[in-house]
Symmetry: C2
Subunit: 222 residues, 2 copies
């Protein structure tokens, strides 16, 4: 192993570790936003809205690292695919951070009204989405295709929960006008959580491509 190759391997490993860190942060922000709404904790909601900076910094750093690796080492095959995957995953994680802000912003409005209904489905959706994100990133770091495929399979669960939330809240809204505004925000929150799952799905698809050079997007299950 030459010095250069060892150096490249170390830098690629560092890149993956930074992505893992970013994924952990993004996941934590989704969890915090949802928990704040369930606990009706306005300060915690505001903390999520104000706290996007560390993720944004990581986003820039990881893009710069990816660019440097491509420019200096001109990697081939699986290494090239791993870096391109990192560039895409980085964008997905940054959007997850934005979605945590969107969730908290809808939560801020929601907390101005009395509770519409017990929020059971919302933390459940958040839990599924967070789990998908965590598994997708583990799959990236380990190059684990079966784990990535398990993530793809979970997207339907999240869609079904979102549709359930929509139907439930529609019933409330049609029956009682005072619930229209807060119900609307819960519907938006459930859609933001579904999009967190979509980003996890994107990450999982990138993992399959990275490992197998096979493009699984736009097939029957995606």
């Amino acid at each position: 192993m030459t010095q250069d190759i060892r150096h490249f391997a170390e830098e690629l490993d560092e890149l993956k570790q930074r992505l893992l860190l970013m994924g952990g942060l993004a996941e934590e922000r989704v969890r915090a936003a949802t928990a704040a709404i369930v606990a009706r904790d306005q300060d915690a909601v505001e903390a999520v809205i104000a706290g996007d900076e560390p993720l944004n910094e990581l986003h820039k750093e990881i893009d710069a690292r990816s660019f440097r690796l491509l420019a200096l080492h001109q990697p081939m095959a699986v290494d090239l695919r791993a870096i391109l995957a990192a560039v895409k995953i980085n964008s997905d994680l940054e959007r997850v951070g934005d979605l945590a802000v969107n969730i908290a912003e809808a939560g801020r409005r929601y907390l101005k009204h009395p509770p519409v209904k017990p929020l059971i489905d919302i933390p459940r959706m958040a839990g599924v989405a967070q789990g998908m994100l965590r598994d997708a990133l583990d799959a990236y770091v380990r190059g684990d295709v079966p784990l990535a495929q398990a993530v793809l399979a979970k997207d339907d669960t999240l869609d079904a929960l979102k549709d359930q939330v929509f139907r439930d809240l529609l019933t409330f809204m049609v029956r009682d006008q005072s619930t229209v505004e807060p119900s609307l925000d819960l519907i938006l929150i459930s859609r933001h959580l579904e999009r967190v799952g979509d980003h996890a799905t994107n990450v999982a698809e990138d993992v399959v491509f990275m490992v197998s050079a096979k493009d699984v997007r736009h097939t029957a299950n995606s």
Copy 2:
């Protein structure tokens, strides 16, 4: 100019032309989805829902082209940034195509009810979002930073329109329960259109990075 460099320049130019084609298709699908809803044309709504395949094929093709260019030519500096930008823009355009489907799906539900209100703001939002997308792609192909910056400035217009739509429809929903379901779908449509603008913004940011190697994301205006 060596054979290889000329070959690379041609391939990069071809990649950009394919992205332009994809951008045109994505924009057209957003236009078609919105026009179908305004015209209350159910067949046209269904055609948008069923018509995602050409964009998905282009998405895969452009990713494969980008990968091949990186692997075979190991480009540096602005060329490397142009290809990385292509990879990201490709993802953004594919999502715009998905959003056209989301708009049409909400439209399908919306058309089951009598009209809630004249849809003036919805085609206006679509027009702004389409214009942003078109300008962002022109800016990419021409490397035109001022044009990209003009796109970034327009995002606020779209946000303001979205908030206006939200407030208007909320009034309808609270006053008259029969408008709850269709109003909800119009709100979702306006959010999908806002996200089309977000993707155009992403493209514009990539253009600034490509040309100037300057990361303008997460600054005060973004």
